[in-house]
C-alpha cells in the first residue's frame, strides 16, 4: 500500500514537516493525506511536527467569535440553543495570554458596547501593536457611507505608551489598490487619549479601502516630507466585524 519512495526516512520527515507547516499543497497534499490513513507512523511524525510548531500560535491574539457561530453550530448538530454558552467577555481561560487579551477585550467592547448613540457601531477595527506585539491603540470606524461626517475613532489600550521627548506620533492609513498602498497621513495623534479624527472627502475612500493603519514617530510638528519615518512604531491590519 505504501509507495516505496515514502519508506525513506528523510523523505518522510521532510513531507511530514512540510505538511504540518502547510507548504505541501495540491496533489502532493492529497496524496500525503491518503498515505497517512494507512501509515500510523507517518501520522505520528506529523503529530510531532504539529507539536513542535504549536507554540507559534501562543503569541496570536485570541478573538472571541460572534455568538451566531455557536448558534449555527448547535443548529447543525441538533443540540438546540438551550445550551447557551455564557456570553461573558472574558470567556477564554488562557492565563499566559493575559497581555494579548487586552486587544480581544477591546475588540469586543467596540463590537458590542459603548457605542455613541448617534453613530452606527464600528464595522472595521485595526488594533495597532508595537514591534514586540503588544496592543497600544485601536482605530475603528462605522460604515463610512452611513454617516454624515465620517471619522475614525482612536482608542488607547496602553495609556503608558508615549512618544520620546520632543517627538510626536503621526497616524497613517495604509490604503489598498491604486497608489500601491503608499501610506497617507491622517495627522498627529495625542498619546494616551481617546480621540475622534475627522476625515476629509479625499481621505474617506482611502480609509474605506485600507488594509491597515500605522503610527510613526516624527519631529514635534509632524512629518515634513509627507512620508512616514520608518520603521513604523505601531501597526495593525484591518479586520471587518460585520
Amino acid at each position: 500500500m505504501i509507495a516505496g519512495r515514502y519508506r525513506r526516512t528523510d523523505l518522510r520527515q521532510r513531507l511530514a514537516s512540510e505538511y504540518a507547516l502547510g507548504t505541501l499543497h495540491g496533489k502532493a497534499r492529497a496524496r500525503f493525506e491518503a498515505l497517512m490513513k494507512y501509515d500510523p507512523a507517518l501520522r505520528q511524525d506529523v503529530g510531532r511536527w504539529e507539536e513542535r510548531l504549536a507554540p507559534l500560535t501562543y503569541g496570536m491574539r485570541d478573538i472571541a467569535p460572534p455568538m451566531r457561530v455557536w448558534n449555527r453550530i448547535s443548529d447543525r448538530i441538533g443540540i438546540g440553543r438551550r445550551l447557551q454558552i455564557r456570553p461573558e467577555v472574558r470567556a477564554y481561560g488562557w492565563r499566559m495570554l493575559a497581555a494579548f487579551s487586552t486587544s480581544v477585550a477591546l475588540m469586543l467592547t467596540l463590537y458590542v458596547g459603548t457605542r455613541p448613540a448617534a453613530e452606527p457601531p464600528a464595522a472595521t477595527v485595526a488594533v495597532l501593536q508595537s514591534r514586540e506585539g503588544a496592543a497600544v491603540m485601536a482605530v475603528s470606524w462605522p460604515p463610512l457611507k452611513q454617516v454624515k461626517d465620517p471619522a475614525v475613532r482612536l482608542k488607547t489600550v496602553n495609556a503608558a505608551a508615549a512618544p520620546a521627548s520632543g517627538k510626536s506620533w503621526e497616524l497613517w492609513v495604509l490604503p489598498d489598490g491604486e497608489g500601491r498602498g503608499k501610506p497617507r497621513s491622517l495627522g498627529r495623534v495625542a498619546a494616551g487619549k481617546d480621540q475622534r479624527i475627522q476625515l476629509s472627502a479625499l481621505q474617506v475612500p482611502l480609509v474605506a479601502k485600507a488594509w491597515g493603519f500605522a503610527v510613526s514617530e516624527e519631529a514635534a510638528d509632524g512629518s515634513a516630507s509627507g512620508t512616514p519615518s520608518m520603521p513604523f512604531i505601531f501597526q495593525g491590519q484591518c479586520v471587518k466585524l460585520q
Binding site: R14, A54, L56, Y58, P66, L83, W94, R95, G133
Partner: protein
C-alpha cells in the same frame, strides 16, 4: 500550555466523544477565541473565518472520539484541524496569489519573524522553539513564519521574497531540518 488546562480540555474532548452536549459547549467556550484568532490571521476575512470555525467545531463534535490523548495535546489537535481547513479554504479561492495587491499585504509581515522570537517565551516549549528559531538564518525563519501564519505556498513565497522557487524550497527544507535537530537536542 499549562497541565491543568490540557487535562481539562482532554476531559472535555473525551466527554464530547460520548455525546455530552454540556462538555462540547464548555470546550467551545474555552477554545473558540484561540481557534478563531488562528483562522482570522490566516484567512484575513471574518466571514471565511466564521465559516471555517463552524465547520471545524461540527467536525470536532463528530470526531472527538478519535482524539488520542497520548499522541498530541488537545489544543494542538484542534488547531491542526482549523489550520488544515484554512489551507483548503485559502487554496480554493486563491489558487495562487502574486502581484501588487499581494506585495502590499505582505509588507506588513516582513518583521514578523523577528517579533516571533520576542513573543515566544511564556512556556517551556515556546522558549525552546524560540531559542531554536534564533539559530536559523533570517531567510529560513522568515519563510517558515510566512508559510505558517499566512498559508503561503512555495510559489507564493518565492514570488513575495523575489527569489527562485528552488532557493525558497531549500530554505524551508533546511530550516525545518535545523529546527528539528535543535528541538530534539533541547528535550
Amino acid at each position: 500550555m499549562d497541565a491543568d488546562t490540557n487535562d481539562r480540555l482532554a476531559m472535555l474532548l473525551g466527554q464530547t466523544g460520548i455525546g455530552n452536549h454540556r462538555a462540547f459547549a464548555d470546550l467551545y467556550r474555552m477554545t473558540s477565541p484561540r481557534l478563531f484568532g488562528v483562522a482570522l490571521r490566516m484567512l484575513r476575512r471574518q466571514d471565511w473565518a466564521e465559516e471555517v470555525l463552524q465547520d471545524c467545531f461540527v467536525s470536532i463534535w463528530h470526531h472527538a472520539a478519535d482524539y488520542a490523548a497520548d499522541k498530541s495535546a488537545p489544543l494542538t489537535w484542534m488547531t491542526s484541524i482549523v489550520r488544515n481547513r484554512c489551507l483548503d479554504r485559502l487554496r480554493r479561492n486563491r489558487p495562487e496569489i502574486t502581484g501588487e495587491a499581494f506585495d502590499v499585504a505582505v509588507d506588513q509581515w516582513e518583521d514578523e519573524s523577528v517579533n516571533l522570537v520576542q513573543s515566544l517565551s511564556a512556556t517551556e516549549d515556546a522558549a525552546a522553539l524560540s531559542r531554536c528559531l534564533e539559530i536559523l538564518d533570517r531567510k529560513q525563519r522568515q519563510s517558515i513564519a510566512l508559510a505558517y501564519f499566512h498559508g503561503l505556498t512555495h510559489a507564493e513565497l518565492a514570488s513575495h521574497l523575489r527569489e527562485p522557487l528552488g532557493t525558497v524550497k531549500t530554505w524551508i527544507r533546511r530550516g525545518l531540518e535545523k529546527l528539528r535537530g535543535c528541538l530534539e537536542g533541547e528535550s
